[in-house]
C-alpha cells in the first residue's frame, strides 16, 4: 500500500480521535486539578491515594478479573461449539439479540429471577439444594456481569475460530495429537488475537461498572465506576470524579501495553 492511501485511512479516524477522545481527555485532566471551590489544586490526587480509594481500586480490579475469567471460560467453548453448527451465523446472531433489550429491564428481571421467591431459587429447591440468598452477593454480581459481557467475548473469539484453517486441526490430529493437545498447541494459539480482543472488551469496561453494583449487588460491591458516578452526579465534585477517571485511563493503557505489546511486535516483524 502506498503512503497516500495510508494517510487517507487516517483522516476520518484521526479526526474522530481528536474530537471525541483527545478533547475529553484534556477536559478530564483539567477538571482533575480543580478543587471544590474551582481553584487549581493537587488535593484530589492526594485524596485518591488515601486508603479508601486504594481499597476501591483493589476490589475493582479483583472483580474485573473474576468477571473476565468467567466470561472467557464460558464464551470460548460456546464459540467453539457455534463454529461447528450448521447455521452458525444465525446462532451467533441469536446470542447477540438478547443484548438489544434494555439492560435496566433485564436487570429488573434478574432481580425477580434471583430473588428469594424467584424461579432460580424454586429450581434449587426442587433439586434439593434449598433456597439460598442469591441477590446482593458476589455470585449474583459476577453472574449478571458475565451475562452482560458474554456477547462481547464470543464475537471476537468466534471470528478467530471461524477463519481457522481446518487443515491445521486435521494435520495435528493426523500426527497423533490428542484433542486436548490439538486445542492447546494449535487451536488456542491461533485464536489468541480474538481472545485478547475479547478480554480487553470485557476487562476494561468491567473496571468501571457501576449500575450493576447497586442494582444486583446492593452496594455490597463498590467499584471505581461507582465512585466516579457518585462524584459526578451526587456530590457534583467533578474534580474528584475526573481524578479517578484519569487513573482508570492510566490503568487501561498499562493493561493494553501488557496484553498487546509482544504480539504487536510479532506481527509487524513478520511484515517487515
Amino acid at each position: 500500500m502506498g503512503n497516500k492511501s495510508r494517510n487517507l485511512f487516517l483522516i476520518p479516524y484521526v479526526f474522530w480521535i481528536a474530537l471525541f477522545v483527545v478533547a475529553p481527555i484534556i477536559l478530564v485532566l483539567f477538571y482533575s486539578f480543580r478543587g471544590l471551590d474551582g481553584s487549581f489544586t493537587l488535593s484530589n490526587y492526594q485524596h485518591f491515594f488515601s486508603s479508601t480509594y486504594f481499597q476501591l481500586t483493589l476490589s475493582s480490579f479483583w472483580y474485573a478479573f473474576l468477571i473476565t475469567l468467567f466470561t472467557l471460560l464460558i464464551s470460548y467453548p460456546t464459540a467453539l461449539v457455534l463454529t461447528k453448527m450448521r447455521h452458525k451465523q444465525l446462532w451467533l446472531l441469536l446470542i447477540i439479540v438478547p443484548s438489544w433489550i434494555n439492560i435496566l429491564l433485564k436487570v429488573y428481571a434478574f432481580l425477580g429471577i434471583l430473588g428469594t421467591y424467584g424461579p432460580f431459587n424454586a429450581f434449587l429447591d426442587v433439586i434439593g439444594i434449598g433456597a439460598v440468598q442469591l441477590l446482593f452477593t458476589d455470585f449474583s454480581f459476577v453472574f449478571v456481569s458475565v451475562y452482560i459481557f458474554i456477547p462481547f467475548m464470543i464475537l471476537p473469539i468466534f471470528n478467530a475460530l471461524d477463519k481457522l484453517n481446518p487443515a491445521f486441526v486435521d494435520a495435528s490430529r493426523d500426527l497423533g495429537a490428542s484433542s486436548f493437545e490439538t486445542f492447546r498447541k494449535v487451536i488456542f494459539p491461533l485464536t489468541i488475537n480474538g481472545v485478547k480482543a475479547g478480554c480487553q472488551l470485557v476487562f476494561i469496561p468491567a473496571l468501571s461498572l457501576f449500575m450493576i453494583t447497586r442494582l444486583i449487588a446492593g452496594n455490597q460491591v463498590i467499584t471505581l465506576g461507582t465512585a466516579i458516578e457518585q462524584h459526578f452526579l451526587v456530590t457534583q465534585d467533578w474534580g474528584m470524579g475526573s481524578t479517578i477517571a484519569v487513573f482508570l485511563i492510566i490503568a487501561m493503557i498499562i493493561i493494553m501495553f501488557l496484553s498487546g505489546n509482544r504480539k504487536w511486535g510479532l506481527t509487524s516483524g513478520k511484515k517487515a
Partner: protein, 357 residues
Amino acid sequence: MKRLTTAFIVVVVASASLIFLANHLNASQGMGGSGTITVFNWGDYIDDELIDQFEEETGIRVVYETFDSNEAMLAKIQQGGTSYDIAVPSEYTIAKMAEDDLLIELNHDQLPNMTHLNPDFMDLSFDPGNKYSIPYFWGTVGIVYNTEMIDDIDFTSWDDLWSEELKNDILLVDGAREIMGMSLNSLGYSLNTLDRAELQEAKAKLQTLSPNIKAIVGDEIKMLIGNGEAPVGVVWSGEAADIMYENEALDYAVPEEGSNLWFDNMVIPRTADNIEGAHAFINFMLDPENAAQNAEYVGYSTPNLSAFELLPEEVSGDERFYPAPELTDRLEVYDNLGREMLAYYNELFLEFKIDLR
C-alpha cells in the same frame, strides 16, 4: 464485497423509511397554535390527560422530556442547549439553582391559582417568598415494612431498625442525605447539621447497623419490598405509597424523632423561551381539579389545599401520607449545605458503603 454493499444499502434504506415514519407521526401529533413549552420532569410524574387538556385549552404545544435525577437535570440546564420552560427539581436543588442564577423569578400575578396552596408549604427555607418555585408534590422519608413478616415492631423510632431480630432484613435507599439524616435523627441531631463531630458519630452509629442491612439500592427498592424480598425499607413516602397500593401487607411509618420533609417543585429555568406559556402551565397545574386529578394519578401528596379537599376520603384521611401537624412540625426540609459539607456527607456515606461487609 457485494454482500457488504447490499447490507449497507439495506440499513440505509431502512433508516430512511423509519425517519419518514417518525416525521409523519411527529407531524400528526403537533398542533401548532401559540408556541410550545418544553417541560422537564421525572418520568411518569404527570397525568398525560392533563397535558392534552392543557394543549386544548391554551393552544400551546407541550414537549415533554424526562430526567432520572436532580443532578443530571441540573447538568443539562447549566449547559443550556435546550430551552426548558418548566423543570421539576427537588427543594435542595432549587437553592443551588437560585444561587447559580439558573432560575427566573416567578410573576405571582400570572399565577392566580396560587391561593389554593397550603400556606404551611409556602415560604420555606429553600425558597423564601416562593420567589422561584411552586410546590408540586411533597412527602416524607420513613420506614416501609411488611406486617406479615414483622408484627411486633411498629417503627415509631428510628432505633427500631437496630433491633436484633432484623438481621439482614433492611433495604436502604442509596442517598447520602437520606441515610446520614436517618442516623442523625436517631441520635437527636438535625439532619442539616454542619458539625463534623456529630456527623462522625452518625456514621459510627450507621456502621453498627451493617449486620441488619441487606442491601443499599435505588428505585428498585419498591420492587424488592413489594415482592417480599426484604421486610423493611427506608424509603420516600411516594415510593411507599406506590407499593402499598399494590401490596396490602405493607405499612409505612415516620419515626417520631423526626425525619425529612421533601418537595418537588415547578420552576422556570433561565433557559426558558416561553415564559408566558410556562406561567400558564404552572397555573393550570395549580387548578384544584387538575391538581387533584394529578395527585390521584401519581399517588403522591399534593400541597394544594383545595385539591386535597377534592380527594376521596380514603386518600386525604390517610395520616401516613398526610400526617397530622404535630408530626409535620418535627420534620425538617433539607438545607443547601454548600458544596464542601455536601461532599463531606457523601464521603462518609461512601466510606460506610465500602465497609458494609
